[in-house]
């Protein structure tokens, strides 16, 4: 088989600007090699900072921002494209190698119609005439399952949905009939039920057009569905490189093994869920005016247990947290805590009521004041609620830092000096400092890399076992729910469509939405996507 792409000892550097110091040259990819054959798909996987996007763009001889390719070769059909000049590179980009960005919404020019942008590269490179390109675009829109393929190209980017834009971007990459497409996290920004459609569309389209692809993602389960080979990257180095089957079923490296096993269950559900520490009772809520976001929501959370609220963007799950905290008073219904109704607005709650319900945010970055040290951040609730000061306060802060497995060495650090996982841990310490009964967790792990997230989940469960804490855990990720929940509430368009103990919610018979949601979550095994698509097709044929 002919090698379409061969990357040899690729080294990539960038310029870093550490505050208060002169700029420094750093290396972000340390000599990576791989090959890709015609019509095959190679998955590049790794956490943030692994250098996967940078390697992907190197296949187009492109460095984003201040990124430079400092060594190695990128051979396309035996020709080193890094040695080509400007016009030689331009001749390859958009004709032989195309790119699909993570955020299609930003990558499309808002001033032009989608169709014009889709055909542009093919027409400008003289691959085909304008009318031929439009015909091909319509064909591709059809293959990619876009609505009304004949007129879709006449729309503007802001007139279609995110999932449709991502498919249109794939059509744009496929239109000139390239030999290679670089997909850079094309489904990461999408909801899980949308992701599966886009994933299936991409897979079908590259199969039908026999195009080779580099598929970049942080989600091993996704890449397992679409690739032939997988390369695992970490900190700009190759960790493991092999066939999909080998990586998923017999990983050799510890790091890969951790990635594969990241979605195991961490906790079995509690047998008795009759208690209700926190009860949400037929709550309706609306933002300014009559735009209703919650409809008749009723759930309850037993002491020492975890209630997972799961749903996609716009399902109202975060709004539910705002209602409980009192940031958004409900238009109907009550929040009952320890048998008594909480005042709807947080301004009317007393210190004791505020103390007992604490909050964890998705973005630990913005949840901490960047001008305060860990001592101030964790110490403030101690002073505010319990009047601790001086040495007593320092001692207690150090204790809390031990509890979150960080140690008191971090006490005088600023948030900017902590890693993502450490930031979230400090936020947990701040919540613990108030000695709460309930912690509302609003997607606290979804901005983190999988292994770091797993560490946070384990910590939360340990704290729960030790101190009988209760969590209301909001997430869009079914794997997280499986891992930690006692009970689950599935939300869809502002309603709770399913609520009960984990085992019941996750077993049939399902309602339509929960069924769709569960089947959309990529599973870490080969052939999962085909299975789902087949059952779906049978399902729709049955109707």
């Amino acid at each position: 088989m002919a090698e379409l792409l061969e990357v040899r000892d690729l080294k990539i550097g960038a310029t870093a600007y550490p505050p208060g110091e002169p700029p420094q040259d750093i290396t972000i990819v340390h000599g990576v090699s791989f090959t890709l054959q015609k019509g095959k798909v190679l998955g590049l996987i790794g956490e943030s900072g692994a250098g996967k996007s940078t390697i992907g763009l190197a296949a187009l001889a492109y460095g984003r921002g201040g990124v430079r390719i400092t060594g190695g070769e990128v051979l396309l059909d035996g020709e080193d494209i890094l040695a080509l000049g400007g016009s030689g590179i331009r001749d390859i980009r958009g004709r032989r190698v195309c790119y699909v960005a993570q955020s299609a919404a930003a990558a499309f020019n808002p001033a032009h119609r989608l169709g014009d942008q889709v055909v542009e590269a093919a027409v400008r490179h003289g691959v085909m005439s304008r009318s031929e390109a439009w015909e091909r675009a319509k064909y591709l829109f059809g293959v990619l399952g876009l609505p009304d393929p004949d007129s879709f190209g006449r729309r503007y980017p802001h007139q279609v949905s995110g999932g449709q834009l991502q498919r249109a971007m794939t059509a744009m990459a496929l239109c000139p009939g390239p030999e290679l497409i670089v997909f850079d996290e094309p489904t990461t920004a999408l909801d899980v039920t949308t992701q599966i459609d886009v994933l299936a569309a991409i897979k079908r389209a590259i199969e039908e057009t026999h195009t080779a692809a580099l598929y970049i993602t942080h989600d091993l389960a996704v890449v397992a569905q679409i690739s032939d080979d997988i390369m695992v990257l970490r900190h700009g180095n190759m960790v493991e490189y092999g066939s999909v089957q080998q990586i998923i079923e017999e990983p050799k490296e510890d790091y890969t093994r951790d990635l594969v096993s990241v979605t195991q269950t961490l906790k079995d559900e509690a047998p008795d869920q009759s208690d209700s520490l926190l009860r949400i009772d037929s709550v309706d809520a609306a933002y300014s005016g009559d735009f209703k976001v919650l409809h008749d929501v009723s759930v309850h959370l037993p002491r020492g247990q975890t209630l997972a609220v799961v749903g996609e963007s716009g399902s109202g799950k975060s709004t539910l947290a705002r209602v409980i905290t009192g940031l958004l008073p409900p238009s109907r219904g009550e929040v009952i805590f320890k048998g008594a109704a909480l005042p709807p607005e947080f301004a009317n709650r007393n210190k004791e009521q505020l103390r007992q319900v604490q909050m964890l945010y998705q973005m630990a970055d913005t949840a901490m004041n960047p001008r305060q040290t860990v001592r101030d951040i964790v110490g403030r609730p101690l002073t505010f609620y319990f009047g601790l000061r001086g040495a007593e306060k320092t001692r207690r802060v150090a204790e809390l830092l031990e509890q979150i497995e960080m140690g008191k060495g971090f006490i005088d650090r600023y948030p900017a000096e902590l890693s993502g996982g450490q930031k979230q841990r400090v936020c947990i310490a701040r919540a613990l400092a108030a000695e709460p009964e309930v912690i509302l967790c609003d997607e606290p792990t979804s901005a983190l890399d999988p292994l770091v997230a797993k560490g946070i989940l384990k910590l939360l469960l340990r704290l729960q076992a030790e101190t009988q804490l209760s969590y209301l855990f909001i997430t869009h990720d079914i794997a997280t729910v499986r891992a930690i929940a006692d009970s689950i509430a599935v939300m869809y368009q502002g309603r709770v469509v399913r609520f009960g103990p984990k085992s019941k919610v996750l077993s049939p018979p399902f309602d339509d939405y929960t069924d769709l949601l569960l089947k959309s979550v990529p599973e870490m095994r080969l052939g999962w996507l085909e299975e789902v698509l087949t059952t779906r097709r049978m399902g729709s044929a049955g109707h």
Binding site: R90, R93, N109, A111, E120, Y156, F291
Partner: protein
């Protein structure tokens, strides 16, 4: 934005309203966030976002104009101090003050005088000057043309020059032409108008003898003579607005050039010319128009000082003279006219921004 146009903001031009102008017309249906207010207005906005926004912007300008008239007339009344007393000076006898109050109609209640004044203004009558007794409208009629003539030519020279230099700076971004333009414009922003004006007078008019000073224009001058007379004031105005307009243009283009869709175009293998013409230009037009309109608004105000420096018979000179002798009808009339032009140009900037926004031109 802060970084790019930062030090440019010596406060010369209304840098704040640029941001408002750019972010103002964000479509209500854009975010899908809890903005749905229901009801008729929201429905109308969804169906015809463009017309609704334009109508809103026009309405806002009219409201502002009216509010400005209130400030210029009634707000001034509310300030401590008696017009008649300040007009005559501290040494005036109470009798003289009472006489002049009656003569100027100041003994009437403020509200009825305001309504009378507003009624007059609506018909183009700004009343009579206290100092000369002449019709203010007549005087303004003579001078407004001169001011607009000067501002027009200054705009005609500075706008293409500023946009061109801004593009040049972007083209040579972070290389020496860009740095040079940056340093020179940073200096130019800090120069007071009168300083630039007197340097030009000293070296071009007095020592060089190439043009005449002062820049008087009068009835009966030919077009060519008028043009020659305004060379120096025009050059001063150009120098003063150029730096600012150029820096803002540069920032606007750079912000467009760093968008992801430009990267997309690059990764399509398009050549630089096509990227700029097809992908950058349509999106850069709106912010550049805003920059230009806002600087023109400043130009109309900057003209005040320049007219005084060059003894040019325009509105600015007229207003400053009136302020010195506390001739309130003239001050109020000039103030209202300057503010109206300013509001008008700001509105134009916003409206052009709305019209060039594809999201609003092609609603869902």
């Amino acid at each position: 934005m802060v970084q790019e146009s930062g030090p440019a903001g010596t406060g010369r031009a209304p840098q704040g309203s640029l941001a408002a102008g750019l972010s103002g017309p964000s479509p209500a249906n854009d975010s899908g966030a809890p903005s749905g207010r229901g009801g008729g207005l929201a429905a109308l906005r969804r169906r015809m976002p463009l017309a609704t926004l334009l109508a809103q912007r026009l309405g806002l300008s009219l409201l502002l104009l009216w509010a400005v008239s209130v400030v210029v007339f009634l707000g001034i009344e509310a300030l401590p101090g008696d017009f008649a007393q300040t007009y005559l000076g501290q040494s005036a006898t109470p009798q003289a003050v009472a006489n002049i109050r009656a003569e100027l109609g100041l003994d009437q209640p403020a509200l009825s005088r305001y309504l009378e004044w507003l009624g007059g203004v609506a018909q183009g009558d700004f009343g009579k000057s206290w100092a000369s007794g002449n019709s203010v409208t007549e005087q303004i009629g003579l001078r407004l043309g001169n001011t607009l003539f000067l501002a027009f030519w200054a705009a005609l020279v500075s706008v293409p020059l500023a946009v061109g230099l801004g593009m040049l700076a972007v083209h040579f971004r972070d290389r020496w032409p860009d740095r040079l333009i940056n340093v020179v414009s940073l200096g130019a922003i800090s120069l007071p108008e009168f300083f630039v004006g007197y340097i030009l007078i000293l070296f071009v008019a007095v020592q060089g003898g190439w043009v005449t000073f002062p820049s008087t224009v009068y009835a009966g001058m030919s077009f060519g003579q008028r043009l020659e007379a305004i060379i120096l004031p025009c050059a001063t105005l150009v120098l003063v607005v150029l730096a600012h307009m150029m820096r803002m243009t540069r920032a606007a283009i750079i912000s467009v050039m760093s968008s992801p869709y430009i990267e997309t175009a690059e990764l399509k293998g398009l050549d630089t010319l096509r990227i700029i013409a097809r992908h950058a230009a349509p999106n850069a037009v709106a912010p550049i128009i805003t920059v230009v309109a806002l600087n023109l608004a400043y130009l109309v105000v900057g003209v005040v000082v320049v007219e005084v420096v060059f003894v040019y018979p325009g509105m600015g000179q007229y207003m400053v003279d009136a302020v010195t002798v506390r001739d309130m009808p003239v001050v109020q009339a000039c103030g209202l006219i300057f503010a109206s032009v300013y509001i008008l140009l700001n509105m134009t900037a916003d409206i052009l921004g709305i019209l060039t926004n594809p999201r609003l031109r092609h609603p869902r």
